[in-house]
């Protein structure tokens, strides 16, 4: 049984059909890339899976549960996490507090009011910050970070709740080559406990990190398979050549 199964997803915005029967299946501990030309519906499909958009039609199952009607909060509590395309770290808070905010999300109200988990979570916060090479800036405001570092902080925040599935929308957007390489390194270790869906324009990055790929074109699935299968696929080559 796959971890995530989105079937026959249709999303209509007014007269525009963004998704027209798209589907996505992700297994456990699988890194899955979602690629396609601009406007093919990648981000919309991500949003439908994460709960930021409600699909017009179709069904999303996660860990054998139909979550189509779940709110983002319910999805997060079921073990799904999303990193937005636009970085949305909380700029006025310190890095430490950004991570703590993400870590304490599922603490009870009394724990929060009486700060009962503050001490317990301290080590976890520092571990996350160290893992993402941000520990020496723990007490700076997030606004002071470079764009690439903000993306890492955001990935760290998305991973804080130990999700089973992480959705990354363009994690390397606006990054330098070196930052992209480091992002790839930072993502590798999470494979042991988490699956990943990545929307990304950088095909080299996708090829290096992903196990399987799904190619969208005009709101439909053009092809889905392992990286080598997709690379050999004539139709895929065509759409990328056509637009290159």
């Amino acid at each position: 049984m796959p971890l995530l199964e989105a079937a026959d997803i249709k999303k209509v915005f007014g007269k525009l059909t963004a998704l027209d029967g798209a589907a996505l299946t992700v297994g456990e501990n699988e890194f899955h890339g979602l690629i396609g030309p601009n406007g093919s519906g990648k981000s919309t499909l991500m949003k439908c899976i994460a709960g930021a958009e409600v699909p017009t039609q179709g069904k999303v199952s996660f860990v054998n549960t139909d979550i189509t009607a779940f709110t983002p909060t319910e999805r997060a509590r079921a073990g799904m996490s999303l990193k937005f395309q636009i970085t949305s770290v909380l700029p006025t808070l310190t890095l430490y507090d950004n991570i703590l905010l993400a870590l304490q999300a599922q603490c009870s109200l009394l724990d929060l009011v009486f700060s009962r988990t503050r001490g317990l979570l301290h080590d976890q916060v520092m571990t996350m910050l160290t893992q993402f090479r941000l520990a020496d800036r723990a007490f700076d405001a997030a606004a002071a970070l470079s764009h690439g570092q903000q993306q890492w902080l955001e990935i760290a925040m998305a991973l804080a709740g130990k999700p089973k599935l992480l959705l990354l929308d363009e994690p390397t957007g606006g990054m330098s080559l070196e930052e992209r390489r480091v992002t790839g390194e930072l993502l590798q270790p999470i494979k042991q406990h988490c699956s990943l869906v990545i929307v990304e324009h950088d095909l080299d990055f996708i090829r290096d990190i992903c196990d399987r790929l799904t190619v969208l074109d005009q709101g439909k699935v053009l092809a889905s398979g392992t990286v080598s299968e997709i690379q050999a696929n004539k139709a895929v080559q065509e759409i990328y050549l056509r637009r290159a």
Binding site: R118, R137, F139
Partner: protein
């Protein structure tokens, strides 16, 4: 390792604090805490006030302290949680009316009964309105909440004006003073110190709350509600909770106000008082508890002085003054002495390094 961070941190603080005054940013990065000093100064001034003020000014100061308590309630809801409540007077005024009715119809004026009763009235009405406005399955828009609270306040005002039982336009006059055993709290220093004591207790409770991990959740709510919902926070519940706490504090303030003034009237639940409290907090500095208190004192003090000296045009002068502050100091007067980093504070456990926390 923490020590070596110092230099880098200073550089960063200078960047972050670029909106604030440079000297402020510097003092924040050297670890000097401004907030406790400001709080201490205000407390000492408040404790000494009745000793130096004439009697009629002590009465005025008592009213200001009660209004500062009311301002705290709005600051929690808006300054900390980012909920636009333009109807905070609804909770203030309905508690005022509630205790006035207790005193008029049931002869209940015991302070141990009326103050909890007023608090519960504020809490319940905020729970009902907040539940309706905030607890939908999907997050309610800022416009919906602000118009909803405004409408609630306006409707209550109209209701009070039209309802004979509540005294209509005239409200409820000559409320008997609050009592404890044989003692009656009438205007004067005893009443002053009573409300000051209550303000200090509520202030400390709020301070505890906004510096806790719950306060961190509120900061997340204020900055990006959608983001924290994706972390798994029940954002609407958090909002309803803080809105209800705000309502309870406004109710406590309203019941003190009713007994201090000796009467209640429809304005007390209406849009005028709802707007007034927004101005207090804007003026002093939202998102800091002491800012709400200072804002109340200054707005009320300045209006008092202006209305004495410029009988006709004082509201225009006050309006201009408020506009200037909002234009040039959107974070309020407190931002003259307080840097951005200290205002937001930090929330985590820092075993080795004690750092500034939220006010």
């Amino acid at each position: 390792m923490l020590k070596t961070m110092g230099a880098a941190k200073q550089a960063v603080h200078a960047n972050v604090g670029s909106e604030a005054d440079v000297p402020v940013a510097k003092s924040a990065s050297t670890g000097r805490k401004i907030l406790p000093i400001v709080e201490g100064v205000v407390l000492v001034a408040a404790l000494l006030a009745p000793l130096v003020l004439q009697d009629y000014l002590t009465v005025f100061a008592t009213r200001v302290i009660i209004l500062a308590l009311f301002a705290l309630s709005f600051d929690l809801v808006w300054g900390y949680a980012g909920i636009m409540s333009f109807g905070q007077a609804l909770f203030f005024g309905s508690a005022g009316y509630g205790v006035a009715l207790l005193a008029r119809d049931l002869d209940i004026t015991n302070i141990l009964l009326v103050l909890p009763a007023g608090t519960i009235i504020g809490l319940t009405s905020a729970l009902l309105l907040g539940g309706f406005l905030l607890l939908g399955r999907h997050p309610s828009s800022v416009i919906f909440v602000s118009l909803g609270t405004l409408t609630g306040s306006y409707a209550a005002d109209r209701l009070a004006r039209g309802w004979y039982y509540l005294g209509g336009q005239n409200g409820i006059p000559s409320i008997a003073p609050m009592s404890l055993g044989g003692y009656e709290f009438t205007e004067g220093p005893a009443f002053y110190y009573l409300v000051l004591g209550i303000l200090v207790v509520v202030y400390l409770l709020c301070r505890f709350l906004v510096r806790s991990q719950f306060g961190l959740a509120l900061a997340g709510l204020r900055e990006n509600e959608q983001r924290i919902a994706f972390f798994g926070y029940k954002a609407q519940h958090l909002k309803a909770i803080i809105f209800t706490i705000g309502g309870a504090i406004a109710g406590l303030a309203g019941s003190l106000y009713a007994f201090h003034e000796g009467f209640v009237w429809p304005n007390m639940v209406g849009v005028v008082v709802s707007t007034q409290v927004v101005l207090y907090v804007l003026f002093g500095g939202s998102g800091t508890l002491i800012g709400a208190v200072i804002g109340t004192v200054i707005v009320e003090g300045v209006s008092f002085w202006l209305s004495d000296n410029y009988r006709d045009v004082w509201p225009i002068i006050l309006g201009l003054l408020l506009l200037l502050v909002i234009l040039f100091r959107p974070l309020g007067l407190i931002s003259f002495v307080l840097g951005e980093r200290e205002r937001v504070g930090s929330f985590g456990a820092k075993p080795k390094e004690k750092r500034n926390a939220a006010p």
